[in-house]
């Protein structure tokens, strides 16, 4: 007798014909003149190859390197980020929140999966998962612990539930010992997870020796 089914709840049962149905829908929309396959390719290529967390890492690295830029970034995220040419869809109204020794910020969208596309690209599966969306607001420290991050009791955890049209980027703490690094080297340290608030930026990078 097979054991009760309800233990493999990670499994999401995607209908096997979904790929076929999407193909059929595309061909119908093309036939009706509603979409151009080349535009679809361009959209996919944008988020697979051009827009992603490397954008956000450059913003963070500059904020670390240039105090004046950091001040502009915290005062008006949208326009400071636009200095890099990063703007538009799902990043129209950007807010940057700064991690310090006293404050740790965490971003979530409990109602769907709002995420700052121009600086981080499309959200990862865990960010979109019911597990993260449900727990980040009620048990942020527990969630962070699962990510390997223990936040001290003397540190305030601020959770930003991005349910409106503001999109959030965490400015992580600059790790110690990085004074000699160039802006480009700094950017290489910055991870997507750190800019969502579920990780810190480490130096040397995990697995490397100083």
């Amino acid at each position: 007798m097979p054991p009760a089914e309800h233990h493999d709840h990670a499994h999401q049962d995607v209908p096997s014909d979904l790929a076929l149905r999407v193909k059929a829908l595309e061909s119908l929309l093309v036939e009706k003149g509603l979409v151009d396959p080349a535009a679809l390719d361009a959209l996919i290529d944008t988020y697979e190859n051009k827009v992603g967390p490397r954008n956000g890492a450059r913003v963070v690295a500059r904020a670390w390197a240039e105090p004046a830029y950091k001040a502009r970034l915290l005062a008006d995220g949208t326009s400071a980020i636009a200095e890099f040419g990063f703007s538009g869809r799902q990043g129209e109204h950007m807010v940057v929140v700064e991690n310090t020794a006293r404050v740790h910020n965490l971003i979530v969208c409990t109602l769907c999966s709002c995420y700052p596309w121009p600086v981080l690209g499309l959200p990862p599966v865990w960010y979109k998962s019911a597990a993260y969306r449900s727990r980040a607001v009620v048990d942020p420290r527990g969630v962070l612990r699962e990510f390997g991050l223990e936040i001290g009791e003397d540190v305030e955890v601020r959770v930003w539930d991005s349910t409106a049209e503001l999109r959030y980027l965490v400015l992580p703490e600059r790790p110690a010992g990085t004074d000699h690094l160039s802006e480009e080297d700094l950017a290489a340290l910055v991870t997507r997870d750190a800019m969502v608030g579920v990780a810190k930026v480490e130096y040397p990078k995990p697995g490397e020796t100083a």
Binding site: V22, E31, L34, E92, P124, K128, V157, A164, L166
Partner: protein
């Protein structure tokens, strides 16, 4: 609506599973669904709030079973039909009804960069000054609309403090139903974690939620 999508504070959803070196799309159909949604959206037949609401209308058991892009697929089919870009009959047969002229002009590859970098501004100028000032105590209203709302259930009836004014924005509760933009002030409101979750929460922590004026009342 008090849907299963409004999941802040729920238990039982399991651990958060982090995937190392995750691809942007896990299968080609995911990318196509994503791109089809944006390209079809460029016809301007619906807005972002209507799009979010369409996903909320997926029945709860199916919503929870489905992957993210499966929800997007279902939403796209529904929006195409409801907003009459495609008929249910065409969706059924998979072919355009003969005699209907081709739509024009569709989004081209060359227009994609401009479309994405422009985005869609939800901000609106509002003549009246904001009703609330930073530092002011407010309460999120205890409302339970059957339609779309962006006031999460876990915050309703709870007291918070205005952190700052965000500007004027389109109101999702009407816009999602094509009942007008009804633009109004949005405020970042700080809710103490203990106000939201009781004594089990850290006395130091807080949740910040951007709230439209209609969601708030003086505390």
């Amino acid at each position: 609506m008090n849907g299963v999508h409004d999941m802040g504070g729920m238990h039982g959803m399991g651990p958060v599973k982090h995937e190392k070196d995750e691809p942007v799309f896990h299968a080609p159909w995911e990318g196509r669904t994503f791109a089809l949604t944006l390209a079809a959206g460029a016809w301007g037949k619906w807005n972002i709030d209507a799009g979010r609401h369409e996903i909320e209308l997926i029945p709860p058991a199916q919503y929870l079973r489905m992957s993210y892009y499966e929800r997007w697929y279902v939403r796209l089919v529904e929006l195409l039909a409801k907003r009459e870009l495609v008929s249910r009959e065409e969706l059924e047969t998979g072919h355009a009804k003969p005699g209907v002229p081709k739509a024009s002009p569709r989004l081209t590859a060359g227009q994609v960069p401009a479309l994405l970098s422009a985005g869609a501004l939800a901000s609106r100028r509002i003549a009246e000054s904001p009703r609330f000032q930073p530092g002011q105590r407010v309460r999120a209203r205890n409302i339970h609309p059957a339609g779309h709302t962006r006031l999460p259930r876990y915050a309703r009836g709870k007291q918070g403090t205005i952190d700052r004014h965000r500007g004027g924005f389109v109101f999702p509760d009407t816009n999602a139903h094509f009942l007008g933009e009804k633009p109004q002030h949005v405020y970042s409101v700080r809710f103490a974690a203990r106000e939201l979750w009781g004594d089990q929460a850290s006395p130091r922590d807080a949740v910040y939620i951007d709230m439209w004026d209609d969601y708030l009342e003086p505390a």
